[in-house]
Amino acid sequence: MFHALANPARFLRLMAVIRPWAAGVAIVGLAAGLGWGLLYSPPDYQQGETVRIMYIHVPAAWMGMFIYAAMAVASATALIWRHPVAELVAKASAPVGAVFTLICLLTGALWGKPMWGAWWVWDARLTSMLILFFIYLGYMALWEAFDDPARAGRAAAILALVGAVNLPIIKFSVDWWNTMHQPASVLTLAGPKIHPDILWPLLITALGAKGYYVWLLTLRVRAEILSRQARILRFAAATDRRAD
């Protein structure tokens, strides 16, 4: 099963089967979760209506981290088994993860203004997400830095793994730094327990976001495979012309 997926044509067929289901989960999940969260869930007793930013902010943060984990697994697969499609899965995931991380940062800033009175606070979680965003950008820049996609792919895979080892350490050090410099943040989701009326739309939105990621992934990996094929055909055509 695993090695069978190394065949791009077979992988494309599997993607085609998954795509409509992922699209369905994305559309239904995001519509239901966001609709419920933004329109029908109760406002928070402390934060009022601004708590609704959470229904976008928190799933985006989860996706930013989840997609990096997926990228690291795909990169390890690509390096260990020389799995050509895994490399493309990692490449196709990076921009999606970066944008989710950016959404998390932007909504965090929008949420910070009414809650903390400042657009940006060097809160441990916001800072960690900012660093994660930089790591995504570095990963994508490395992909673009080589003419040879095979070289770029394996260099980027090594970088993704180095980042994966380092991310927990960075997270820990930022938490440590934050407790040194700043008192505990005011942001608490109405205490440790979240009310089901808030939790359910949040979870449904998160599920929809996962479906959206898989949907985009099937499209982006297909585009990557097709553009690789186009590249090979172009080279072949150029060689033919020279041979004539």
């Binding site: 570095g138 080589f146 070289r151 260099a155 820990f172 050090s173």
Partner: protein, 221 residues
């Protein structure tokens, strides 16, 4: 072992020579630190408050300066191909070159830092801790930086790319390095911060040779 030392010796001779990056790196470090009083004003309290952070950030940036040449010149003139053929495992070759990089950047930079700390009005008790923290932290910068240098071998805009890849990964070094100095200047124990810096170094020392060697192999294919 003799092959390891031979590589270190060769890179040191190159680094200390007229073509070497050691003096330039050191000058950059001193210059970058001395810009801060001009930027934020000469008030001793402010300078003393930011001294640790300024010195550490400048050290981070200075360590990035010569990184892109770490393997590139050797790749261009074919030395790297020969080193890869050597009986020494490629990871150890990488470690030898990284050690030479640290001896020509991290070490001199750490040794001159106490002087800059005095210029920035740092608390006297914190200065030995600053030296210890830099000596423990800068090798990690060289090790993680060498991964970035090896990954960008032959890349377009490699010189800009190395700091972009490396700086986010060395944030823990910055945090614990500054933490140690600040703890000491508040009269607290700097031990935990220094231990964490040491732990980071131990981890980097154990793991990064594999990543560097893997990346060099890619570049030589």
């Amino acid at each position: 072992m003799s092959a390891f030392l031979a590589i270190v010796g060769r890179d040191l001779r190159l680094g200390f020579g007229a073509q070497g990056a050691m003096l330039t790196t050191l000058l950059f470090f001193v210059l970058a630190v001395s810009l801060f009083p001009l930027g934020v004003g000469p008030e001793p309290q402010i300078l003393a408050r930011i001294a640790a952070g300024v010195i550490w950030v400048a050290a981070l940036l200075a360590a990035m300066l010569s990184l892109d040449r770490l393997f590139q010149t050797d790749q261009e003139d074919g030395t790297l191909d020969l080193l890869a053929q050597a009986p020494l495992p490629l990871g150890l070759v990488a470690l030898a070159k990284t050690l030479a990089h640290w001896l020509t950047t991290g070490l001199p930079l750490s040794l001159i830092a106490p002087l800059l700390a005095i210029l920035l009005q740092m608390d006297g008790a914190a200065i030995p801790v600053l030296l210890a923290a830099l000596l423990l932290g800068t090798p990690s910068l060289s090790l993680i930086g060498a991964i970035g240098a090896a990954l960008t071998l032959g890349a377009k805009r490699g010189a800009v790319l190395v700091p972009l890849l490396t700086l986010p990964l060395v944030i823990p070094v910055l945090i614990f390095g500054v933490g140690a100095v600040e703890a000491a200047s508040y009269g607290l124990t700097a031990g935990p911060h220094l231990l964490l810096l040491g732990a980071f170094l131990a981890g980097a020392l154990a793991l990064s040779p594999f990543a560097i060697a893997g990346a060099i192999k890619l570049a030589l294919e």
